[in-house]
């Protein structure tokens, strides 16, 4: 059967938090392996980092930055729900979801500006 509708804010936040966490958990070992390339010398590390100049890779990095920001902001909302006093019975702090998503988009934009050469310095 169809179950309870899932398009209310708190549920969307759950999905965002869980999927971003899953993506980050898959990414993290790869991230550590890449950084470990520095053990094999500067040239090897630089050789790998050259891939970071490719637009496709920059886009992937942007995706990860946004996912990390989403996971952070939605996670902080959960900590607030659990540790801060509730002001009302239905105080699911749904406004934090909007701010969190907006914050993640903002961080992503700043990243893009830096990654694609709009930096000030």
């Amino acid at each position: 059967m169809r179950s309870a509708p899932r398009h209310h804010a708190s549920y969307v936040a759950f999905v965002g938090h869980r999927l971003s966490g899953l993506a980050l958990a898959i990414f993290l070992p790869l991230h550590f392996l890449a950084l470990g390339l520095a053990l094999e010398g500067r040239e090897t590390f630089d050789g790998f980092l050259a891939y970071a100049d490719m637009p496709f890779v920059k886009a992937a990095e942007w995706g990860l930055v946004v996912l990390l920001s989403v996971h952070l902001f939605f996670g902080v909302r959960l900590l607030a729900l659990e540790l801060l006093p509730w002001r009302r019975d239905d105080d699911l702090r749904t406004d934090w979801i909007g701010w969190g998503a907006g914050g993640a988009v903002a961080v992503g934009l700043i990243f893009l500006m830096g990654a694609f050469g709009f930096d000030a310095g």
Binding site: M1, R2, S3, A4, P5, R6, H8, A9, S10, Y11, A13, F14, R18, L78, L81, E82, L83, W86, D89, D90, D91, L92
Partner: protein, 259 residues
């Protein structure tokens, strides 16, 4: 002169009575248990009609074997809870005109509980979990002692009172996805009950209730999806109660670690 009181007049047979408008409702109703099928019944669309009215009409005039539950039919007992167009709700409090889609409504038993027959489901698992979460009250006084004075304005009493009106209708339990994904999650109603007890100074086993509510399948399984809070027909927020249990669990662990 006909002095039969109005409520004892013979009930009009809806099959012959002309409805106020000509429209009908097609009600797709689940028949069977876990294996079964939807059967569609047509009933007249009336001006003031609840989903419970539709189900009752089907059972009285179309299908006497249709099994369903209700009691008060005025929105206080919670017995008539069913899944209507995919949402768990009290059918006596659901007006047809608010949920009908293209002249059709779909009526099923509550999710997360095994269907016994048609629209009636087996709630024993729901009540077992209520106990498993530590919901059973244990008193400290006897009938010979004076009643324990509890200040209704105290912080703990206010927290308990926010959840005390639960009548165990099962709607929150049916709405919860985590309940559907796991066998051992005790669910929002059970944890809400546990929260009212850990805040009840008269309860002798607050330690035991907290231990049960924070065990495997307890409050840590909740992900604050909020389906329970958005569906509770009387406005309780199990999410809030569970958040309180989580906070208590954290502080409790940190306190116990302190020498």
């Amino acid at each position: 002169m006909d002095d039969t009181p109005r409520d004892m007049a013979p009930e009009a047979d809806p099959r012959t009575e002309t409805p106020h408008d000509e429209a009908t409702i097609r009600a797709r109703v689940w028949r069977g248990d876990r294996r079964g099928r939807f059967v569609t019944y047509e009933v007249p669309h009336r001006e003031n009609q609840t989903v419970l009215d539709v189900v009752s009409e089907i059972q009285r005039y179309h299908e006497p074997a249709l099994a369903y539950r209700f009691a008060c039919r005025v929105g206080v007992c919670g017995s008539c809870a069913m899944t209507v167009n995919g949402r768990p709700r009290w059918t006596c409090r659901t007006h047809v005109k608010r949920v009908v889609e293209n002249g059709e409504i779909t009526i099923e038993p509550l999710r997360n509980m095994p269907p016994i027959k048609d629209l009636a489901c087996d709630m024993s698992g729901f009540f077992d979990k209520w106990h498993r979460a530590g919901g059973r009250f244990e008193g400290t006084a006897t009938r010979h002692d004076p009643p324990i004075p509890v200040d209704p304005a105290s912080r703990k009493r206010k927290l308990a009172d926010a959840g005390i009106e639960c009548i165990n209708c099962g709607v929150c339990y049916a709405a919860c996805d985590v309940v559907s994904w796991t066998d051992d999650y005790v669910g929002p109603a059970a944890l809400n009950r546990a929260w009212t007890l850990v805040n009840d100074e008269r309860h002798a086993d607050r330690r035991g209730t907290l231990d049960k509510a924070t065990a495997q399948g307890g409050c840590s399984s909740c992900h604050a999806q909020g389906n329970c809070t958005t569906h509770c027909p009387i406005g309780i927020s199990p999410t809030r109660s569970i958040a309180g249990l989580k906070r208590m669990s954290l502080l409790d662990l940190l306190n116990r670690r302190a020498p």
